[in-house]
């Protein structure tokens, strides 16, 4: 049995809708993710999927409940960095001034680690895996949307994460490209035995995950 990586227990989140009233976004959410496990969350726009994802990473605070990642409690505080957790967003947020290779190396530099031959080798292997090796010295603006998102995926893996929180990574791509990118993402996650929580509108993609849930009316319903 795989080791449990993340446990979210009875998470509740509400917003002030007026001066006196509060709107409950979701309540009593329980999530458990083990090592190498994939989970997908679907739901309508505005159901609070992204907020839940941000809350699981400690980027967003919750009203009540606890989040435990690798036996460490996660709190929302001024430092948004949680070692072992990495993100992929709908928009790629690549640094336009840097080459594809440098975009992959920048998280390593920011983490204060030395970019030695081993790290560069890892970056090249990832680029090869994602079919981007020929673009390594090009600027992101010369790439297509799908290629850029693949660079963003590669960049995420450079941090050697144990859990990836992916917020609609194919949201701005066409259907065919989305399928190619998501397949690549699943395969790389599988290869590196990385767990992930995928927030998506696409049920076909969600069905491919080990766990599939829907966020409806503030509740997380397990579908698979």
């Amino acid at each position: 049995m795989n080791k449990v990586l993340l446990i979210a227990d009875k998470l509740t989140k509400s917003f002030a809708s007026s001066k006196t009233e509060r709107f409950c976004l979701w309540h009593d959410i329980n999530i458990e993710i083990s090592e190498g496990e994939a989970m997908a969350i679907c739901g309508e726009s505005g159901s609070g999927k992204s907020t839940l994802l941000f809350a699981l990473g400690g980027l967003e605070g919750v009203d009540s409940g606890t989040i435990c990642f690798c036996n460490q409690m996660i709190y929302h505080h001024s430092n948004p960095y949680t070692p072992g957790i990495s993100y992929i967003f709908q928009h790629y947020y690549l640094i336009e001034e840097l080459s594809v290779l440098e975009n992959l190396l920048i998280p390593v530099r920011v983490m204060g680690e030395k970019v030695n031959a081993g790290v560069k080798d890892q970056a090249h292997r990832l680029l090869l895996e994602l079919g981007l090796e020929k673009f390594s010295h090009q600027l992101p603006k010369t790439l297509s949307g799908g290629e850029r998102q693949r660079v963003a995926i590669g960049r995420t893996f450079m941090m050697n994460p144990r859990l990836i929180l992916a917020d609609e990574p194919t949201g701005s791509l066409d259907e065919q490209t989305s399928l190619r990118v998501i397949q690549m993402f699943f395969s790389v996650c599988q290869k590196f035995k990385t767990s992930f929580i995928l927030v998506t509108h696409n049920e076909n993609f969600a069905m491919q995950a080990n766990k599939y849930c829907r966020l409806e009316q503030g509740e997380l319903k397990r579908c698979k």
Binding site: L59, N79, S86, E97, L98, V110, G112
Partner: protein
């Protein structure tokens, strides 16, 4: 620590000089603004230094490095000459008599400032030869030298003779006596290029003026030159400690203290006014960086998620100001020195388009702009520009470092 610091430096450089480009529009406009400000300051301050240097050297040529003055007549001139010449640090000494007299040539009358000097010793302290336009200073005992301005006013030339009335004439009138004017030939014309002197000054031998003022062997003071390596101010203090009252030594700086103060004030004001060029350039850096912060808000959020500290985000933007100002300062100095190197060609070209050929000489008594480089000015301009640019980056840097990560990532 070093690694945590280095990536901010590298990324800042990439923001200014993206891969495959020689810099962004913002980069080069910011550098141009700083460079222009530094260049203008360098040019103006160096030219002002040049004028200062020229004026200082002129003041020394006219007055000597030290002047010893007395409120009464100094009777034992030879004794004092001997004492002063043997004083430690004093190189040469020359006595002088000065005052006002009435001169007349035909219908023209003037009250020039008269300076009586000892023809034998004066050249060792005051380089009068350099001022002579016609005549020979060795002929001083045979007549007088007048300035170009006085010669024009009196309508005289070398060889002419004019009458000079002593102030003693007034005393004689009180006693119902008549003191006849002295007839003196003009043996030369001089010009110091110092307007105050050139307008109305007469130069004659010490004996002539002593005779005219009835001083016998008395003098009004001494001009001193100082041995190389001796501080004028220190020697002045030493002399004042030894000299009996009412004798007092004045350095050339003290004699024209007000004028020199105005020169300093002018330079300070020019610096202050031109500093605004740099301030404006730094404002544009600040607004450029601020728009960069807004544009890169999601990148900043990502950097924070990857573990970047607030100070590292702030450093990322401060580094940009450091690079922009450093390059701007360097280019500004290079531009300034280049302009100063070709200053005379530039000025001749500009004035030649509008004014006659000798315009500068006729109006400002110079045909070549004097320049003096002062490393202190370069250091001041460079460091002030650097500090202002860094201060300009602080607000964008703070905004970047305190931007909210979740809001930035959700903003679309």
């Amino acid at each position: 620590m070093q690694l945590a610091f280095m990536w901010t430096l590298k990324l800042a450089l990439h923001y200014l000089f993206p891969k495959g480009r020689i810099g962004t529009f913002f980069t080069w406009m910011s550098i141009a603004g700083i460079a222009l400000g530094v260049m203008v300051l360098t040019v103006v301050l160096s030219i002002m230094n040049g004028f200062d240097k020229t004026i200082h050297s002129k003041l020394i040529q006219i007055n000597g490095q030290i002047k010893i003055l007395s409120t009464s007549i100094i009777e034992d001139c030879t004794q004092w000459m001997h004492t002063l010449e043997n004083f430690e640090g004093v190189s040469h000494v020359t006595p002088f008599v000065q005052g006002i007299a009435l001169v007349q040539h035909g219908d023209y009358v003037q009250f020039p400032r008269c300076l009586g000097v000892d023809a034998k010793t004066v050249q060792s302290v005051l380089p009068l030869n350099t001022f002579v336009r016609s005549g020979d200073i060795a002929d001083l005992n045979q007549g007088v030298f007048v300035t170009k301005g006085l010669a024009q006013t009196l309508n005289v030339n070398v060889g002419d003779i004019f009458d000079i009335y002593s102030p003693l004439s007034l005393e004689a009138i009180k006693r119902d006596e008549v003191l006849l004017p002295k007839e003196l030939p003009i043996v030369g014309i001089f010009e110091t290029e110092w307007a105050e002197i050139d307008k109305n000054t007469l130069l004659c031998s010490l004996e002539t003026l002593q005779d005219l003022y009835g001083l016998a062997n008395g003098v009004h003071g001494f001009s001193l030159s100082v041995k190389a390596g001796t501080s004028v101010q220190q020697l002045c203090s030493k002399l004042n400690a030894h000299l009996p009252k009412p004798l007092k030594a004045y350095s050339w700086m003290e004699l024209d203290a007000d004028f020199l103060h105005i020169l300093k004030l002018e330079k300070a004001m020019s610096f202050f006014v031109l500093l605004f060029v740099i301030l404006v350039a730094c404002f544009s850096i600040s607004s450029g960086l601020m728009s960069s912060v807004v544009r890169k808000t999601r990148e900043i959020a990502l950097l924070r998620i990857w573990g970047a500290r607030r100070w590292q985000i702030a450093a990322l933007f401060c580094w940009q100001a450091v690079f922009l100002s450093s390059i701007g300062i360097l280019l500004g100095f290079i531009g300034g020195i280049s302009v100063l190197h070709y200053r005379n060609d530039v000025i001749r070209c500009l004035t030649g388009l509008i004014f006659p050929k000798d315009f500068l000489w006729n109006f400002y008594s110079f045909s070549n702009l004097p320049v003096a480089y002062a490393w202190q000015d370069f250091a001041l301009v460079g460091s002030l520009t650097f500090i202002i640019a860094l201060l300009a980056a602080i607000i964008p840097a703070l905004k970047a470092s305190f931007s909210l990560v979740t809001r930035s990532l959700r903003s679309e």
